[in-house]
Every structure is written in C-alpha cells, then in structure tokens.
Amino acid sequence: MDPLILENVNKTYHLDRVQVAALSDVNLRIRPHCFTVLSGASGSGKTTLLNLIGCIDRPDRGAITVAGQRVADLTDDALSDFRLRHIGFVFQNFNLLPVLTAYENIEYPLVLTRMPKSKRRERVRELLEAVGLGMHAKHWPGQLSGGQRQRVAIARALATAPELVLADEPTANLDSQTGASIIALMRRMQRDYQATFVFSSHDPHVLAEADDAVVLQDGRIVRTEQRQRPELAS
C-alpha cells in the first residue's frame, strides 16, 4: 500500500484581496519506505504540499490518503490522533520544546499515546542510542548543538513509529558537514525503522540521496523521478 496518495489537490491562499494558487491539480503517489524529496524554487509550493501531506492543513479541493486513510473527513481531534500515530515531523528550526530535556522531547509523543512508562523509557533509550545521543538524554535543547538538536528532532519524529516522516528543509539551518551527517542519519533511520521519509529541500546533497524526487514549479508538479534505491540495487 502506498503510504501517501494525492489526487487533484488544490490549495489557494487569500492574501488580502489577492488569491494565490499555492498548489494546482497535484497528483502524487509516494512509494513506501522511500526517501522522497520535494524540490523546487522558493514559492513553488513545497512547504504547502508538505503541510497538506502532514495533515496540518486542508486542501481546497482534492483528496489526500495517508496510510490508507482519507483524511479530508476527519475532525480536528481525529486528525490530531492520526498525526500522532502515523506522521512524524522534523522541522527546519528543530522546534524542540525548550523546557524539556532531550529524553523528554522524544518521550512527549509517547506520553500522548498513553504508552506505559516502562515501555516509553525503553523506546526513548533505543532512539537516543540510534541517533547517537545516548549520553545526552538529560541535556536541555539549549545545551545541544544544532546538529544534536536535529538528531533529537529525528528521534522524536520516529518515536511513535509512524509510517510517514516529513521534514521541511531539515538541513537549512546546519552547516554542510552537519547537514550531510543529518541526511545520512535520516537515511539510516529510514532504513532501520522502515518509515517513508518525505523532504522539502533544495540542498543538492539531499537531492543526491533521494530515492524519488518530485519537482514543483508554481504550484504544479513538473517532474517526478523514481530512482533505483541503492540498497535494492545492491
């Protein structure tokens, strides 16, 4: 089953009296367990598309199916619950809660799922080790570097084992070396946790790592590229 299907999706923003078509008739299928990059120039509709995929915004027209669920008819609470269990987010600015430690930031979505404490501890420890921050569990976000914060954010996004992880320009606020390491980490996490990753980025390193690439221009998909996944090729 494709984790994500978009059919004739349209989204228009109203800026004062001007209507801006952010997305027009977007049709898209994302392959499962792939590393898909949405690319395009600034204002091409990458972030809007990512927001719709992430169920944090609603299309004006069209249907979106995530993990087999058509999300258009879900109530706000049902959408929240759906996001909690099926979608993980990695933000450009990391968006860690500053009053929570690295451990607690990763634990937070698990608390929302009412997972028992012992299981939570086990899961958070596992994720912290996976992102290489086992020794930083009690660090506050302010005590971590940008790369470390993004690692925590990746671990948090994977905490509830979602089918889909969305990342909006995850390397934009990192230097190229750290950015590359974060991409490598995400690649590994995607493989280890069998999640589908969808990025928005125009970082050539990210594009080079992608299994699939979707190129947007003026709110339309102008090109899609499906590449042979390296591990499948091998």
Binding site: I56, D77, D81, N93, N95, L97, V99, Y108, L112
Partner: protein, 468 residues
C-alpha cells in the same frame, strides 16, 4: 510528562513575569483577607456586645416588640418565673444555655427635684448577677475582661445612669463625670411645685425588702424616677445613683437608667404580681440559635401555649447589626470584585503574552498530535498554578501580616464604643474566608486564562508554525 509538570516548567521559563503575576495575586488576596479579617472582627465584636447585653434569644409578649415600648405593663410576661424554670429544666435547651434572665424595660421621667430638673428616660431593670454572667460570654476569644455591672453589690434602690442623664440632671460633680460642661446660666424652674401627693410617692416605703436602700454608700446622689403603674397611676422611686456610665452613643447616654429588677417591678407593679417585658436566653454558641429557637417554638406550641409569647433572636432585636453586616458585606464584595478584576486582567495579560511567545511551540505540539483540548489544558494549568501559588502565598502573607498587626498594640475606637480596643484582624481561624478567597483566586486565574487558552488551541497549526 504530566501537563502540570510542563505547565510549571513553562512558568519557570519566564520567572520575572510569573513572579510579577503571582505578586499581583498575593497583594490582591492579602488585601481581601486583611480587610475581611478586620470586618469579621468588627462583626464578632458587635455580636458579642449584643449577646452580652441581651442574650441570643428573647422571649417577649408577641406584641411587645411592636407596641410594648409605649405601654410595657400591658405587654408583660405573666408568670415569667414559671417560664424561666421550664426553659432551664428543658432537656433539649438546658445543655445549650448559659444564662436565662428576666428584664423589665420601661419609660419614665428621671428627676433631680432638688435641682429642679428632669428628663424622660429609658429604664432597664435587670438581675445583676445574671447580667454579670452574661458579660462573661466570649465565644470569639476577645482579649478584654468581662465588664462588671456597676450595680453589682449595691442595694435594690441603686441605679446607674448615662453620663448624658447625669449632665441634664446636674449630677456630674457628685458622680465625678469628666468633660461635663454646665450651662452658663441655669434656668430656674418655672413649673408648678411637685404636688404633695406625688412627692410623697418618692418617700421610700417601709418594708423588710427595703432595708438595703437605706444603707447605700454615703455620698451618692439620689434621683427620682417617675413611671406609670399597671393601673396608669404615677409612681415614684427614689434611687441612689451608684455611677454615671459613658455608653458610647449619645442617645443612650442621654436617656439610659439601669436599676435592679426588683426595684423596677416595685415601681411598675407595686404590690401586684410583678411581670417582666423579656426573658433573655444566652447560649453557648451563636450557631445554636436555630436549634434553640426551634425548641422554644415547640414549647410555645405545647407547654407554653397559653402564654402569648414570641421568640426573637438578637438580629431581629437589633436591626443595626444586620444593617452593619450588610454594609460591610457590600463593601467587602465591592473590594473583592475590584481586586478580582485586577487579577483577571493581570493573569490574562500574562497568559496572552505566553501564547504569543510560544506560538511556534503550540504549532509544534499540535503537529505532533496534541489535541486542542490538550493545548487549552496546558495554558489553564499554568494559570491554575499561578493562582495556586498566589493563593497560598497570599494566605501565608495575610496570616503573617495579621499576626504583626494583632501584636502591634494598635488601637481604635469602634462606633458605639467608649474606650479604644485593640486593632485585631481575624484571619487565622476564619477558614471559610480563607478557603473562599483561595478558591476565588484560583477560579479567577483559570477564568482569565480561558480566553488565551482557547485562542491558543484554535490557532491554525500551519500559521502557528510559521509564526516569527
């Protein structure tokens, strides 16, 4: 991560603002509690005064309260001693009673005929020992000592008068009343001489019971008290004035005369069967009034059904008490509403600022799967914690300040009092006031957070994440 824990951490994030908000709540709650404690003390003081003077409940002829002051003998309680005995012996009432005592109140004319002056007075005949026992009632723990009636240990023909009566009757000098100016020119009496038969009434009757009246302390001045007997005839008693008392209220000072019940009955009833105008009942606690009243009403329907009696509590007998309580209640309510409004806007402002500052976090939480209700709960929890800290600190500071005030030795003279009393603020022990203030503060804090919390919860996730 529990919501309260997260809320607490968020409050600690901006400590200065949280402290300023809590401080506003502390000042608000301290103001309410200190003023409330002060008012409570005044009300307890008034209540204590009324209960010491006239008991918690009074049995009167059912028409005396409305019509009796003009003709007390027409509305007396016949066989009052039987009623008193019955009340004292009643198994339900007796455990609640401290004192049951009769009183006889009437109007008359007091005269110092040697000086040719007189004035209308309001007289009260009492059983001195009972009244002294009533003065010991101190359910609210006031530090003052019980006042002993000046009639204590005096003969039956003794009386006490208000300083105003002493002034009018030209008795300030012999009664050592200070601050008692005499008129520049004393007008000579122009009225007719007292008729001989009326003057003769003032001559003490010789009877065994009068022995004490002839042996009063030497040097005390005398007055004549003229009143109407049950038959409507005038009767005069010659009374030895034991003391002139300052009663605090000019109207009382200028008209009061207190005397022994026996003497008052002799004056009004002569050799007829004496009656009284009221039977006062003092209870151990004011809270027992409804129970005692219910029982008395039951007795009035059964054992005392032939007696045309009615029972009144001290509030009905002293409407000024209710009016004062109402006035202070209104002032207290007004202040509480004002302070509540200030707290409402202070906390609301704090929460609004928090929502603006944490808009991106709200978006992040919502994106992660936090429901709107969770966001609302988070901000309301923060307000709840602010309110809780404000209330606890407010109560603590109010208790400390009240203790400091109570031990500072400050005094004040309440209306209707003569002597200054210690300024006392009752906060400790006023659990209902403490609890209602704390709960009220919590509710106001939560209410003030409701709108910002709702706004935060309804923020579109995308816009919240985009917030700069």
């Amino acid at each position: 991560m529990k919501t309260l824990s997260l809320a607490l951490r968020n409050l600690l994030r901006n400590r200065r603002r949280s402290i300023a908000t809590i401080l506003a709540m502390v000042i608000g709650s301290v103001s309410i509690l200190l003023f409330g404690g002060y008012v409570q003390n005044i009300i307890y003081g008034m209540q204590t005064g009324y209960v010491r003077g006239g008991g918690h409940l009074q049995l009167q002829h059912r028409d005396y309260f409305l019509y009796g002051s003009g003709d007390p003998t027409a509305y007396g309680i016949t066989g009052y001693q039987r009623v008193i005995d019955l009340l004292r012996a009643d198994p339900v009432l007796s455990p609640m009673l401290t004192v049951v005592t009769p009183t006889l109140e009437f109007g008359g004319i007091a005269g110092n005929f040697d000086a040719g002056v007189s004035r209308t007075v309001f007289a009260s005949g009492v059983v001195v020992d009972d009244q002294n026992a009533m003065q010991r009632w101190n359910d609210y723990g006031f530090p003052d000592r019980p006042e002993i009636l000046a009639l204590t240990g005096t003969g039956d023909d003794s009386a006490i008068i208000g300083t105003g009566v002493a002034r009018v009757l030209r008795l300030c000098a012999p009664l050592h009343v200070s601050d008692c100016p005499q008129p520049a020119a004393v007008a000579q009496p122009t009225g007719a001489e007292l008729p001989a038969d009326v003057a003769r009434l003032a001559t003490p009757e010789e009877s065994p019971g009068d022995a004490s009246s002839a042996t009063g302390p030497v040097g005390h001045p005398h007055i004549e008290l003229l009143a109407a007997t049950t038959g409507g005839a005038p009767n005069v008693a010659r009374l030895e004035v034991a003391k002139a008392e300052e009663l605090g209220v000019k109207e009382a000072n200028d008209a009061f005369i207190g005397l022994h019940l026996v003497q008052a009955q002799r004056l009004l009833y002569g050799r007829a069967t004496p009656e009284v105008t009221a039977i006062s009942l003092q209870l151990h606690h004011t809270g027992q009034i409804p129970f005692a009243r219910r029982r008395i009403e039951e007795l009035l329907r059964t054992s005392l059904k032939r007696s045309p009696l009615a029972v009144y509590d001290f509030k009905a007998l002293n409407p000024y008490y209710g009016q004062t309580v109402g006035l202070f209640g209104a002032i207290f309510g007004f202040i509480a509403v004002l302070i509540g409004a200030i707290v409402l806007f202070t906390v609301g402002n704090t929460m609004n600022a928090a929502v603006v500052e944490r808009t991106v976090e709200i978006g992040t939480l919502r994106a992660m799967g936090q429901r709107r209700a969770g966001i609302r709960r988070l901000f309301i929890s923060e307000a709840l914690l602010l309110g809780l800290f404000g209330a606890l600190l407010g109560v603590g500071v109010a208790l400390i300040l009240a203790s400091v005030i109570n031990h500072s030795g400050l005094t004040w003279t309440p209306p209707g009092r003569v002597h200054p009393i210690h300024l006392h603020v009752r906060v400790w022990g006023e659990w209902r006031m403490l609890l209602s203030t704390a709960v009220g503060l919590l509710l106001v804090a939560m209410l003030s957070a409701w709108w910002p919390a709702r706004r935060a919860a309804r923020l579109p996730v995308v816009e919240a994440l985009r917030h700069v």
